[in-house]
Point group: C3
Chain length 313, copies 3
């Protein structure tokens, strides 16, 4: 997320009531997570394991829970609880806005686009031309939808990321300020749920087609011309390269990459990243040929073991 | 799909600007897919592998991409792209009609039937008597619903079929002109998605009960008194005979048949057709007794192998 | 379910036109299922297998299909079809009430709570303070929601239990009169379906967080601070103790208990109750370490068998 106008380090520090290291007029342009930070962004880090990653990232402002040496050209915000303070900033710069109307007046809807009855379209949503939004679809604030897109009924675009920090008193949610971006010629089936990015975008690439009841987690990037069958779930922070085909009821771990033109057979659990151009099956995931051989062997195993035992005696 | 009134071969040919073989006044009554064609229908075929099937089907008009010999009593429409032209005809004879009202004035709703708030009911929908449609249900154009039916909230009846042709420039969707037909005494849970047939009907047989979050693909026919538990997905073009029981999170391949009174245990992948009266489990599907034996053997395998190795030495 | 005011045995018997054993003025306070009965409740039983359980339960009125000896201090209602008569009583004391408005006038909504557009909120719903109900959510009659709760779009709270008795003429549904109870600080994702209890409550404990497209069956009790990932299905009558973590696409059998702090890995089928504090995987469920070892062995099996055979010869 970028701020509407640049802020200073001092302003940000005062919002979260914390010390800072750097010039008080150091320019702050936005706030983001590791994978999408650019110069001017705040990134937060609250575990020593990730200090180096944060300090050497493209972010120029690091919200951190230890007074470390500040890298040249950067600034630090020193907080006892960076997670909490990142949420305070999200709430400040991107407060939840209740909608008094089902279709927000700030939504921009392109020529030739049809919105069927009972849809919810939040603030600042942009929809391109000749798209079709079927009845009872919910499109949250800031979602961007291209041209010739079809969204079938019941689908929800832009729900909050399922991202929690465990604290002694309970789960604390990282607030979402990101967006959902649906490119041109995408079809999304009925009752799908596409979560917004935490600070960045969850993106469905041009020409991809999703069937019904599909989950796409926060910050996931689906490439062009992917095909995803019903009831599959793509976790958060995944990358599907172009022309990936996913059959029904597949699930993935978060953060994995599926290479271009890979085919994932039904009910597979994508437990790790897999390279493109191959066909996979099973949980944990394997190349389908190997997995199917294993399962065939398993079926023959009673006979094989009987045989081995007889030969022994 | 049948046309509202009979058309001539010449009229159809002019709509898609193609050559034809046969009498220009040859009567054309509708357009359908292989599995539901009857005399007077157009069927399309664009791969030599299926030419014979199309030409010998009950369809009397074959939309085809080669000038073959025309079977006696039939007619041909010669097109460089039958898939595209079939879509042109669907758009002509069954254009998408945007709805200005949440409940279409052309919908017919039987005596004693209750429609709860925020439902969408499309054009030409027919609902029988004493049915109950809960809040936020979406029922697309042409859906037929019987008597004593209960549809729980969030369910979508009549979404487009997930049916695409891969072209160099991207996926091209076969447009849907078919319907969803829900027979008497059916219960459908919350947030289910039942897709319409491409040209024919997706049917849920009398007395069948579906739990929540279930997917039923296009043109699938579910028999009478079937029971389907939550989160199962029945792919397109499947047949479930009467009194089939499906436990939770089952998935099926498209085009399979499940015999009457079969029981499919939870999380099974129905990878092929199975005969009735038996209990099945696993992916790929097997009879449950065999599969459970295999899994039990797998658990004992470390000990068995250790034993075999010791006996060798 | 408790009745609004106490009834007498005679009144109840006349509603279902049956014989009774006990004082005609015997006080009847409500009707419930085994697992939630208390003194004054009617419980029904129609199979000899469960007679003792019913007669010795805390229920003081037993609706039964045989004239057995009446336990001291209790009463009997003698019916040829207790299931049917239990439904008659449910319909009498808790008739379905159609809603003329999307938000019922009898709903009580706490201070600071936001209801986004296109929601359905049924009769007698109570929502606490500072909660957020996103667009297109359906909340059925009698649902109780606490403070600081977030329900994302498309979710359905309070659908009927998927509970049927097989009769020669078809499936007969046990009518639901129970509720959904969502405690404080619960988050529920988009397009989830939480069914009401048959007579009791389906409960989501304080601080639990549910992702999208999750099914929770009737009468299930989810403890405090549980975390459930997308597309998981918790069947009816289950107990999840506190701080259980469930990854994506997990399913459970009905009636099972998952012990506190257990972790269930993705796509697992919880086929039986499991104790807390451990990590589980696979269908049928096993401790994950054991299961992953089995799967590793399966991958090495071709080499092992080859080796064994060679050593033999």
């Amino acid at each position: 997320m970028k701020f509407i106008q640049p802020r200073t380090l001092k302003e940000i520090a005062s919002l979260i009531d914390c010390e800072y290291v750097g010039d008080s007029s150091f320019e702050v342009l936005g706030m983001n997570e590791f994978h999408v930070v650019t110069a001017g962004d705040i990134v937060f880090v609250d575990h020593p394991k990730y200090y180096d990653k944060a300090l050497s990232s493209k972010a120029t402002v690091v919200l951190i829970n230890k007074k470390v040496d500040c890298p040249e050209g950067k600034a630090l915000l020193i907080s006892d609880d960076p997670f909490r303070d990142f949420n305070i900033l999200t709430t400040h710069f991107k407060p939840f806005q209740a909608s008094s109307k089902a279709i927000s007046e700030s939504a921009k809807i392109g020529k030739g686009t049809i919105i069927q009855p009972n849809c919810f379209i939040g603030n600042n949503v942009v929809i391109g031309q000749n798209s079709l939004i079927h009845a009872n679809v919910s499109i949250f604030d800031d979602t961007i939808i291209g041209d010739n897109v079809v969204i079938q009924s019941g689908t929800v675009l832009g729900g909050n990321a399922f991202y929690y920090k465990k604290r002694p008193e309970g789960y604390d949610q990282l607030l979402s300020s990101g967006r959902v971006v649906i490119k041109n010629d995408v079809h999304i089936g009925a009752s799908c749920t596409i979560d917004r990015g935490v600070t960045g975008d969850t993106t469905i690439g041009a020409g991809s087609k999703l069937d019904n009841l599909i989950q796409v987690g926060h910050d996931t990037i689906i490439g062009k011309k992917c095909l995803i069958a019903s009831q599959s779930g793509i976790a958060g922070c995944c990358i599907l390269e172009d022309e990936v085909t996913i059959w029904g009821q597949v699930g993935t771990n978060s953060g994995i990459t599926i290479g271009a033109k890979a085919i994932i057979l039904g009910q597979t659990g994508v437990t790790k990243s897999v390279e493109g151009g191959k066909t996979y099956f099973g949980t944990p995931i394997e190349e389908s040929r190997a997995k199917l051989k294993e399962l065939a062997l398993l079926r023959k195993l009673p006979a094989i073991i009987k045989d081995l035992k007889e030969n022994e005696s």
